[in-house]
């Protein structure tokens, strides 16, 4: 059982980290900017009577296409919450590593990992609770009701919760990878590239059908338009596979954390 004061102290550490706020800002501002640009492009095309270059004119599809990049914000938050413990940027922390000081205060390492996981879950949920409605609101305002809406209200709500789950699981995986590698640069670089520049999982999926069992592809249909989604697992099996990857990585990270020197 995690004590409330342990969660509170980890929460305070996290929300006072500049890197976490950078992640929160990326998770909010990048999808917001992309939503505005996507919807304005769609609106201009519809008004000009030439939407042949667009995949569809649905406002909700524009929102979901933009919200994919919010995953980068979740990755930054997940990596920063753990990576800051291993950072040697600050001369104020003991021996350059904050982790030794944290372990003096909380010697039970599994509890510390669980507390950090809960903090990341809360932070990313908060980010989603702000970003998703704001993007939807901006898109609705800017679209002016133009275009053909193909997403029903029930589908939109289900996909919003699916996206939120995808963000949370991705952030926890990022946390686990950062804890395993005890490093910020490597997980941040690999995961941001995979979620923005080019998905290595997507490339692999073109070469082998086994790639659909990779966590990011397995969970893709939680929020993607089924008509344009990659050839991957259905929503429920995909969510279970992604959650299993997350739990497995987290267990491995916690196990290695308890068996290594700080």
């Amino acid at each position: 059982m995690i004590h409330a004061h342990l969660f509170r102290s980890e929460w305070t550490k996290a929300v006072t980290l500049p890197g976490v706020w950078a992640g929160f800002s990326v998770g909010l501002l990048v999808p917001l900017a992309l939503t505005a640009l996507n919807v304005m492009t769609t609106r201009s095309a519809v008004l000009a009577g030439d939407s042949s270059q667009l995949a569809n004119t649905s406002t909700w599809e524009s929102v979901f296409a933009s919200l994919v990049l919010g995953t980068v914000g979740a990755v930054i938050i997940g990596v920063m919450v753990v990576g800051s413990e291993y950072s040697v940027d600050s001369a104020d922390s003991g021996g350059g590593h904050q982790l030794t000081t944290s372990l003096l205060a909380v010697p039970r390492r599994v509890d510390l990992t669980i507390a950090k996981t809960l903090v990341v879950t809360c932070l990313v949920t908060t980010m989603g609770a702000v970003t998703i409605p704001v993007c939807a609101l901006v898109a609705t305002r800017l679209s002016g009701g133009l275009g053909v809406e193909t997403v029903t209200a029930a589908q939109a709500v289900a996909r919003c919760f699916g996206l939120l789950l995808y963000w949370v699981l991705t952030a926890v995986m990022a946390l686990a990878i950062a804890q395993l590698l005890r490093n910020v640069v490597v997980p941040l670089t690999l995961l941001i590239i995979n979620n923005s520049l080019l998905s290595v999982s997507y490339l692999l999926s073109q070469a082998t059908s086994l790639a659909k069992w990779l966590p990011d592809l397995a969970g893709r249909n939680l929020f993607m338009d089924p008509a344009y989604a990659y050839e991957s697992l259905d929503v429920l099996p995909g969510a279970v596979i992604m959650a299993t990857w997350t739990l497995g990585l987290l267990t491995l990270a916690a196990w290695s954390f308890t068996r290594r020197d700080a």
């Binding site: 890197g19 990048v30 992309l34 640009l37 990049l69 640069v185 670089t189 590239i193 923005s196 490339l203």
Partner: protein
């Protein structure tokens, strides 16, 4: 001059023996080749030139990490003071650090491009012996752009004095902003990677290569200049 030479040798020695730089070099060279191999596995009907062009984005990320690894070495607690104890004149230290990085960065850029081009040639050649070869001009401009991205990253790290903050800034510039602004080429053409793309791949409008050189040059000049300014005025 003798002191500067000694500082340069010391900085080169530091740069070439840092594990982070070795890892960034190996990662960039190896990942570039793997990406080309994957691209060829996914779409076997493209030319070697197209495979190389598709891999440059990954190489740019690798060069950004290299710049961060090289500059962040003296941003850690105590390192900056020790470096200044050895070389008290900051401009001399900065010049030696920048020149040593330029040497390392150029070598890594050449290795990375050679690795990607070699893999691209082997993959395209295995399927189509008559495929387009990659022009020397293309290889040279890709190396030039990669060195510029590495230098910009080096400057941003000196400016932020934090490897993590520099990484977020650089990945934002390389991976996120071009995606967000992809529908607005009039704006995105001024981003460093987009300017680089117009240098090594050519611009659709034709006569804008000089503008691309100007944009990339301005990013590097401002980035490194601000980094020098901040580094020269930082407390130990």
């Amino acid at each position: 001059m003798h002191r500067f030479g000694s500082a340069l040798v010391a900085e080169l020695s530091k740069a070439t023996t840092l594990p982070a730089i070795g890892a960034a070099t190996g990662g960039t060279v190896g990942a570039g080749a793997v990406v080309v191999w994957l691209l060829a596995a996914v779409d076997p009907h493209r030319s070697a030139d197209e495979y190389l062009l598709a891999s440059v984005g990954f190489l740019e990320v690798g060069m950004a990490v290299l710049g961060i690894a090289a500059a962040a070495q003296d941003c850690g607690p105590g390192h900056f003071r020790t470096a200044l104890l050895a070389v008290p004149r900051r401009n001399c230290l900065l010049m030696a650090k920048t020149l040593s990085f330029a040497v390392v960065c150029s070598v890594v850029a050449v290795l990375a491009v050679a690795s990607c081009a070699g893999m691209a040639w082997s993959q395209a050649g295995a399927r189509d012996l008559g495929s387009n070869p990659i022009a020397w001009g293309r290889l040279t401009t890709v190396v030039l752009v990669l060195v510029a991205i590495g230098a910009l990253s080096f400057g941003v790290t000196l400016l932020t004095r934090s490897g993590t903050a520099a990484l977020v800034v650089m990945l934002g510039l390389i991976a996120l902003l071009p995606t967000v602004l992809s529908s607005y080429p009039a704006v995105s053409q001024w981003l460093p990677t987009e300017a680089g793309l117009r240098i090594y791949a050519g611009a659709p409008e034709g006569q804008v290569t000089m503008r691309a050189y100007f944009a990339l040059g301005a990013w590097v000049t401002v980035g490194v200049g601000l980094g020098w300014w901040r580094f020269g005025r930082s407390e130990g």
